[in-house]
Symmetry: C2
């Protein structure tokens, strides 16, 4: 399958690397809003301006859109789905139904196949919530995130006056995770599930007490959590906090006859959030390519993809080696 | 959907309980090889002899076959798939391709839909192996089973002269699991992955030393493992070993660009192996019913089922609540 990348930030770079690990996929181009000559891909891949896209349609089975969920994807994905089969990683959970409807309309009207909200949450975590709830109807779901970097929370800190750089780690509270794993079905407040650790580089002479207070009192982002703020130097930030690790667990506990208890847990421990997300997107692009060739058009999510369509192996090989 | 159960042992009972937890499913009958009047279902369900099955075809959307993999299912599933949509839990991994081919032929020739090898291994463990390998192509898979009762190994001990009853627990070796979770990619021999704990009730006057030796030297079953044998009384067996707990973990570790490492783990901790397996089978029966109504016939496995088809929720509800 011939894939192209639209947008070349951390996620786009991850997709380039992921495609290189999949022998049945070829990366035919990277499309960027920047000056193509300023973009240096890892491999030997042509870089084009985004308005060149129509000239390369014949070289693209699926376009992987690597934009942000806040402003890029709500506009990009419906527009691009009118002309291409597409995959995105739209992750604003509350706005998924609206995004789905717009992408579905554009894709269906033009005979294309689109998959939205690929990645791990939404994505692999979602699919595990679905499997677990279908198997254990009488049960309860828990999702823990971390330990990992939340880019949204890091950005929120960076917008505070006097902050030069910031990195925020979301950390699940071990006692909460253990109570869930033990099948105790605890009722957990937001504060009881996660803590937030902030590492901040302040400008010289900035009022650190005020910065710390502004972080801890920020509504939605920090006010409902036990938050720690640690001021560090720019060097320390670069040395110890330049990665984008993440992960977490989806746990469902439920009972069957006679009170028998069951625990299903799906966990991820990721050195690089964007590179792992990219791995999911490339597998989903494979399914989109196959479904489009079978005539299934419109918008899909990972819920609509039979697992076999994610794999380069044939159905026979899968049954023999993995079942 | 109207479901029926074919075979009423531990698994059949689990399926009866699971159906009661799914409001969109109705159990219309239990079919047994025994005398129906000797079978006491948990709920208020008619029990029929298996040769009565043709008279009840109109009451059955999907028949859940609860037989053993060694001799029952290889014969039952192809035969029944000629007349019904069916689900089974065939778990002899090496014979899956052959079983698939025979069931596929019977189902396709008669416009029915069959799903084989449902449960957790094969089943949910398999599907997690598939997802993980599609996302992380450069990686390695590990499956650990237990701590849990292996019925096959328990049966093997019971066949030894002088043994009245036996229960065998498969136990993963913690150091091996930890090495895998830590991303160390260890090469593990059979002996390094699991130990086997055997609890045995011996006949009065039986030669316990011989029994222990026969167990530990039994090829395939025990010879390649560190095995412990503990002789207990019939009372102790009943009191402490009457459950059928099981579980385990599927772990894939892999790398992406620049050596970034990722760990995906799917774990189950089950109080009752047959009741959990039954929960998977009922969810799969829902998908079989839907796929048959959409005209998809022949033999399928869990690899072919889009997760959305396992859930009673609509696609809209799933996207809103679970994605």
């Amino acid at each position: 399958m011939k894939l192209a990348i639209y947008g070349y930030g951390n996620l786009g770079k991850g997709v380039e690397s992921a495609i290189a690990q999949n022998p049945d996929a070829t990366l035919t181009g990277i499309f960027t809003r920047r000056n193509p000559s300023a973009v240096k891909p890892i491999g030997n891949v042509p870089v084009y301006m985004i308005n060149d896209l129509p000239n390369h349609a014949a070289e693209i089975d699926v376009l992987i859109i690597c934009g942000g969920s806040a402003t890029d994807l709500p506009k990009m994905t419906p527009e691009l789905a009118a002309s291409f089969n597409v995959v995105d990683s739209f992750d604003t959970h509350a706005k998924i139904p609206e995004h789905f409807a717009r992408v579905d309309e554009a894709a269906k009207a033009n005979g294309h196949t689109a998959l939205i909200s690929g990645g791990w949450d939404p994505g692999m975590f979602s699919v595990n919530r679905l499997y677990a709830s279908a198997i254990l109807p009488d049960g309860q779901d828990y999702t823990f995130w971390g330990r990992g970097v939340s880019q949204g929370h890091s950005d929120a800190i960076r917008r505070i006056e006097g902050v030069l750089d910031a990195r925020q780690y979301t950390v699940p509270i071990p006692a909460a995770v253990e109570a869930v794993r033990a099948g105790k079905n605890p009722t957990l407040s937001t504060r009881e599930k996660h803590t937030r650790e902030c590492y901040v580089v302040a400008a010289e002479g900035a009022d650190k007490a005020r910065i710390e207070r502004e972080i801890k009192e920020m509504p939605n982002y920090f006010a409902d959590y036990d938050t720690t703020v640690t001021f560090i130097s720019a060097e320390e930030m670069k040395k110890n906090h330049s990665g984008l690790p993440h992960g977490g667990s989806v746990i469902r506990t439920g009972t069957t006859a006679k009170g028998n208890r069951h625990v299903i847990e799906y966990s991820l421990k990721l050195d690089s959030n964007p590179e792992f997300t990219a791995g999911v997107l490339v597998a989903l692009a494979r399914a989109v390519d196959r479904l489009n060739k079978r005539g299934r058009t419109g918008c899909l999510t990972i819920f609509d993809i039979a697992p076999a369509d994610l794999s380069p192996l044939s159905p026979e090989e899968l049954r023999k080696k993995m079942l």
